[in-house]
């Protein structure tokens, strides 16, 4: 009995293929039952996210099981034979792949944590459907352990990887927790919206939106649960904000040195963080020379994001070392030693124990 994995991800298949192969959440239990109904497959877990569609399973004849699965996918989803190149992993390669997926090493944004929750959810669904047994239970429990271990014992999560996350990380290094931080958006563009949403997701409050077209300001303010101010009035709000995101299409500087200098004299030592994502730039460069004011433009944020990505890429080898060490110590060999839960006589202690316990924090 061995484990296997079949799938496609953002590296091997374009979104046009992935969207056709994606399992609708509601239909996953039915598909799981059908997959486990095949003679060659005794256990299965389906992991379907926007970046990957993967099926993990246990089989006495993994090569035959993988062929059958390909046939099944072609038969049930709108893909033609030869149109998709599935990757196939067996035994320790399958375990290693799952561990890398759970650790975020196979994600589009290296080290991201969302995938960890998605793996947990996929496993919980298979467990509820009754398509997991000893091997899948042990494999997925181990993947959760490895996912946590990799994140805590390496620097894979350190550093920003996008302009939005760079802005948020910098804001947190200035203000600490962003609860109560007040944000002003000057120019209601898409980048402003994304950056403001990143800040809001970390607790920033009271968004003020100003735009030359007041209707657009109102629209964005409504979306971000903030308030709109007329473009002639934004200067009057400067005293009340901690973070300013500027992205107007003005051909000249909108936020001037004298303006910020004047504002800072009344701020009683409170810092001000300015994010200029406009091209041409909206905020005069000299503003950064004012004490307690931190100005970042789009190139500087992009540079931080690039450095963060490079730093995370350098961490891949360290993370793989952690996974290899785990696999050597208690990985695939322990799985291989397990008897088949479905075929065995008598109850499966691991399955029974896991099924009886709610899957809260594996």
């Amino acid at each position: 009995m061995s484990i296997f994995c079949l799938g496609v991800n953002h590296k091997t298949a374009p979104v046009e293929i992935r969207e056709r192969l994606a399992f609708a959440e509601k239909s996953v239990p039915q598909h799981l039952s059908e997959i486990c109904g095949m003679d060659e497959i005794s256990e299965a877990v389906v992991l379907s996210t926007c970046n990957r569609v993967e099926i993990y399973g246990g089989s006495e004849t993994p090569a035959a099981a993988l062929d059958k699965l390909v046939e099944y996918l072609i038969g049930h989803f709108a893909v033609e034979p030869g149109e998709v190149e599935f990757y196939r992993h067996e035994a320790d390669a399958a375990a290693q792949h799952l561990f890398e997926v759970a650790s975020g090493l196979d994600s589009m944004v290296l080290g991201e944590t969302e995938i960890f929750g998605q793996v947990k959810k996929a496993y919980a669904m298979a467990q509820t459907t009754g398509t997991t047994s000893r091997r899948m239970n042990k494999l997925f429990q181990q993947s959760f352990t490895v996912g946590k271990l990799v994140r805590t014992s390496t620097r894979i999560q350190q550093g920003s990887t996008s302009i939005g996350s760079a802005a948020v990380d910098l804001a947190e290094k200035i203000f600490g927790q962003l609860d109560g931080c007040r944000v002003m958006i000057i120019g209601a563009g898409e980048m402003s919206r994304t950056t403001a949403q990143s800040l809001l997701s970390r607790g920033a409050k009271s968004i003020i939106v100003s735009n030359r077209s007041y209707d657009k300001a109102e629209e964005l303010a409504l979306e971000l649960k903030g308030r709109a101010v007329r473009f002639d009035d934004w200067e009057n709000c400067l005293d009340d904000v901690d973070i300013i995101i500027s992205s107007t299409s003005a051909p000249h500087a909108v936020v001037k040195h004298e303006m910020i200098h004047r504002v800072m004299s009344g701020r009683r030592g409170h810092s001000l963080f300015l994010i200029d994502i406009a091209v041409p730039r909206d905020i005069e460069d000299e503003v950064n020379e004012i004490d307690n004011v931190y100005l970042y433009n789009i190139d500087q944020l992009q540079q931080i994001a690039s450095e963060g990505k490079a730093r995370r890429e350098k961490q891949i080898a360290v993370c793989r070392g952690v996974i290899d060490e785990f696999l050597r110590e208690k990985g695939i060999e322990a799985l291989a030693g397990l008897p088949d839960g479905r075929g065995g006589s008598g109850p499966d202690p691991i399955l029974t124990e896991t099924a009886a316990r709610p899957l809260t924090n594996p």
């Binding site: 805590t152 014992s153 390496t154 620097r155 350190q158 550093g159 990380d169 910098l170 947190e172 290094k173 200035i174 203000f175 600490g176 009683r268 030592g269 810092s271 950064n288 004490d291 307690n292 931190y294 970042y296 500087q300 540079q303 931080i304 730093r311 350098k314 961490q315 360290v318």
Partner: protein, 256 residues
């Protein structure tokens, strides 16, 4: 034996600093709180040194510059262990260790070069002990406030440069640094005030120079705190004055 304890304490702080520096450069993240047991070991050896010196003199061991430096270092370590975690200042230990190491290195060199030996024992006076202990604990808080000031300048520079290095991500937010700095100044000022009040009840009236110097340090910190609370000093001048005031306090200690 007292020299040995001092050397061991100094080595512990040096080891803590090297370990932190190495782990900050490592590809693996540093283990949280690793400085705490190391600082605790250093504190034990410092305490043993001070105990032996106290027994030798028959009074509080602040009879020469070396002992005063060790006592101040001891206070800084106590303050770090007591308040560092509560103030959520990661890397405070990393910045504190080298300062404590250099203070003690000076103390070792001083003692090895010219240890003045035991002083004639003084009559036991609890007010004198309270005065000395509170004043030196206050110096510990002021020292740690200076460290927070240095950390502020470091983090401010990283933010202004637009090229944050690896240390940047491990450092506390500047708002927390400033808040901790203010609290440490207040704690130090309260302790020093208690120490100064205790001096008025001492059996032996301190000499005029001692009184002037202690009063000057007290006034410097009091002015800094009052000005901050009235005018809300911006972080940069506040940090600068916290560092400068501690440097001044150290200089006055050498005069004592």
């Amino acid at each position: 034996m007292d020299d040995l304890y001092l050397i061991l304490a100094t080595l512990a702080f040096l080891g803590g600093f090297i370990l932190a520096a190495v782990s900050l450069r490592s590809e693996r993240p540093r283990k949280q709180g690793v400085n705490i047991p190391i600082a605790a070991v250093g504190l034990v050896f410092q305490s043993l040194f001070l105990q032996l010196r106290g027994e030798m003199h028959g009074r509080c061991p602040i009879t020469n510059g070396a002992e005063v430096l060790v006592f101040v270092s001891w206070s800084i370590v106590i303050m770090y262990l007591a308040l560092g975690k509560a103030f959520r200042l990661s890397l405070l230990g990393v910045f504190t260790m080298p300062m404590v190491f250099f203070f003690q290195l000076f103390a070792i060199v001083y003692l090895l070069a010219a240890d003045p030996g035991p002083r004639p024992p003084a009559a036991l006076d609890p007010w004198l002990e309270l005065h000395a202990a509170m004043s030196l604990l206050a110096y510990g808080a002021f020292g740690l406030a200076g460290v927070a000031g240095v950390m502020y300048f470091f983090q401010d520079r990283q933010l202004k440069s637009h090229h944050p290095g690896r240390l940047f991500y491990s450092m506390p937010p500047i708002r927390y640094l400033v808040a901790a700095l203010v609290r440490l100044l207040v704690i130090g000022a309260v302790l020093l005030s208690v120490g100064i009040v205790a001096a008025f009840f001492m059996k032996v009236v301190p000499d005029r120079g001692h009184l002037l110097i202690s009063g000057a340090v007290w006034i410097v910190y009091l002015v800094l705190i009052v000005v901050h609370f009235i005018k809300r000093l911006p972080p940069k001048p506040l940090s600068f004055w916290a560092i400068a005031a501690f440097a001044f306090a150290l200089l006055t200690l050498s005069a004592l």
